[in-house]
């Protein structure tokens, strides 16, 4: 199997058996991100203690890329600081997935990063008020 094929299998595995799937009770913050154009949706719920994401869960539906990427992302960020999460760039996510997605699927891959960073921002904004 080529690297591309292996990475494809990893993504599909995440898609079929998503990690950290579900909702956190009494989350620090919760947020839905939806792309009405293709119907991809993810909802993140986070538990944040002292600026650390102690728990991250998502529920969602959509294509393998959007859902697989969300699952991969939850594994990546658990235990990270909000600061670190806000600094994750698009390239990092795409490199992590390791597939030549092409411009149209990259949006799918980045939906969950958007959702996660928006959640953190919402949490911080709430704190400041």
């Amino acid at each position: 199997m080529s690297d591309e094929e292996i990475n494809m299998e990893i993504l599909l595995d995440h898609y079929r058996s998503p990690r950290n799937y579900g909702k956190i009770d009494n989350p620090s913050v919760q947020l839905v991100e939806y792309n009405p154009v293709c119907g991809d949706a993810v909802q993140f719920s986070l538990k944040i203690d002292n600026g650390i994401l102690t728990d991250v869960k998502f529920i969602g539906r959509g294509c393998s890329v959007s859902q697989g990427a969300a699952s991969i992302l939850t594994e990546k960020v658990k235990g990270k600081s909000t600061e670190e999460v806000m600094n994750i760039g698009a390239e990092e996510i795409l490199k992590n997935i390791g597939l030549n997605l092409g411009p149209s699927r990259e949006k799918c891959a980045l939906l969950s990063l958007n959702a996660l960073q928006k959640s953190v921002k919402k949490y911080r904004d709430g704190k400041n008020e």
Partner: protein
């Protein structure tokens, strides 16, 4: 009569794509035969110059070629007067032109009647008039994917100034009875516009026989180059309409505070036209004529018949498709899904964890990506018909659409590949 393998020989891109590649996105755009590329090249290499006002041979030759292209294409759609054919960039601009120009005559309370199966290009230009109090109504479809004639009658009334309908749906493949629709609209005193973006390339279309007031279509969807489209209009109407864009050839005289418009069609063609595009489209028309539009249609009817048959016989889990089952009323368009993914109602559903999972459905994006890996090009999404996609209760569909260079084996490969996706994602 029309052997797709032989047809393919005329298209340079199939050399580059290699044997066995199935290009099934013809409703989006089509490939170009050598004769079209040569016509463009020939124009630029031998006649290139600006049209109309040049008093030198080169410019007069270009003007003449431009006119002959106009005549040839207007002839192709059954218009007897070449001046009724306006060159635009694409069907979208054609529809904007007519919506913008006719729209200026609409008053608050006037109604425009379109259908739920319209392409965005026949929706948004009319929506732009909503702030002026114009009302936009939608004819519904029935459960078989036909225009609902009862809904048509229900929505038609004395305030309906304009009826604008698609001839062939780019998602369902439904071929509407344009002649009958035109008759009903005219009996009601409404102007009748036909979106021919998917019909003109695929079947004989005759504006006189249909009796439509306007017909919009795109060159790139009928083997012609990109950047050229057409709007046919009835001369009496075009003459009375205000212009669309200003400048260049569309005026005769310009003074500081007023201008005198040129005659139709120049009145509607602002700035230097795409002469090479018109000539390329004219070459495409000649190429299509060499087969005959009856035969083009027969070829595609055969492909869609085979498609529907294979679908019925297939054992692909949860395969669903949309549109009429009768090939007589159906173009070469096959939109399908593996399982159903409905749009989300953000207010009510998102809190329910269970509703978020797709279950066994395969998202159309995954279908397209997987098919691409098997060298089959289909489109996935809402196909610029979001109201229709939502009306069907889904977020997107995958769509295969045929043309003269597609063969029965493309259809077979398609079904094999769909089966492979279904297995892969369900395993």
């Amino acid at each position: 009569m029309l052997t797709s393998d032989e047809v393919k020989q005329d298209f340079p891109i199939f050399e580059s794509l290699g044997d066995g590649y199935a290009y099934l996105d013809n409703a989006a755009t089509t490939h170009k035969p050598r004769s079209v590329l040569e016509a463009i090249n020939d124009f630029y290499s031998n006649q290139n110059s600006n049209v109309y006002r040049g008093i030198y041979r080169l410019s007069e030759d270009a003007t003449d070629s431009y006119y002959r292209a106009r005549r040839n294409i207007s002839d192709f759609i059954g218009s007897r007067n070449p001046d009724t054919l306006i060159f635009t960039r694409n069907a979208t601009e054609s529809l904007n032109l007519v919506a913008s120009s006719l729209g200026r005559g609409l008053k608050a309370g006037d109604e425009v009647l379109i259908s739920i199966m319209e392409h965005h290009s026949n929706i948004v230009p009319w929506q732009l008039w909503l702030p002026e109090g114009v009302k936009l109504r939608y004819v519904d479809i029935d459960s078989d994917g036909y225009l609902d004639m009862e809904s048509f009658q229900d929505n038609l009334n004395g305030r309906t100034k304009i009826v604008s309908l698609v001839h062939e749906s780019n998602l369902l493949g439904t071929i509407n009875d344009a002649r009958e629709l035109s008759r009903i609209a005219h009996d009601n005193g409404s102007i009748f516009i036909l979106d021919g973006a998917q019909s003109v390339p695929h079947m004989p279309v005759d504006v006189e026989r249909i009796g439509c007031d306007f017909l919009a279509f795109s060159g790139h969807k009928m083997l012609g180059p990109m950047g050229i489209g057409c709007l046919y209009g009835r001369m009496e109407l075009l003459e009375g309409m205000p212009p669309f864009l200003g400048g260049g050839e569309m005026i005769r005289e310009v003074y500081r505070d007023r201008s005198v418009w040129n005659d139709v069609p120049q009145k509607f063609e602002a700035g230097t036209p795409n002469v090479a595009g018109a000539i390329g489209l004219s070459a495409a028309v000649n190429y299509l004529r060499s087969y005959g539009m009856e035969n083009v249609r027969a070829h595609e009817k055969n492909l869609i018949r085979k498609t529907l048959k294979m679908e019925e016989e297939s054992k692909i889990n949860e395969l669903v498709s949309y549109g009429p089952r009768n090939p007589d009323n159906r173009g070469g368009i096959f939109s399908f899904n593996i399982g159903k993914i409905s749009p989300i109602d953000l207010e009510s559903e998102m809190l329910e964890q269970s509703s978020m999972k797709i279950g066994s459905a395969v998202h159309p994006h995954d279908v397209a990506s997987s098919l691409d890996r098997e060298r089959i090009a289909v489109r996935s999404g809402h196909h610029c018909a979001m109201p229709l996609t939502h009306r069907l209760g889904v977020v997107a569909t995958s769509r295969a659409s045929y043309y003269i260079y597609n063969s029965e084996s493309d259809v077979e490969n398609l079904f094999q590949a769909i089966e492979n996706v279904a297995v892969k994602y369900h395993e």
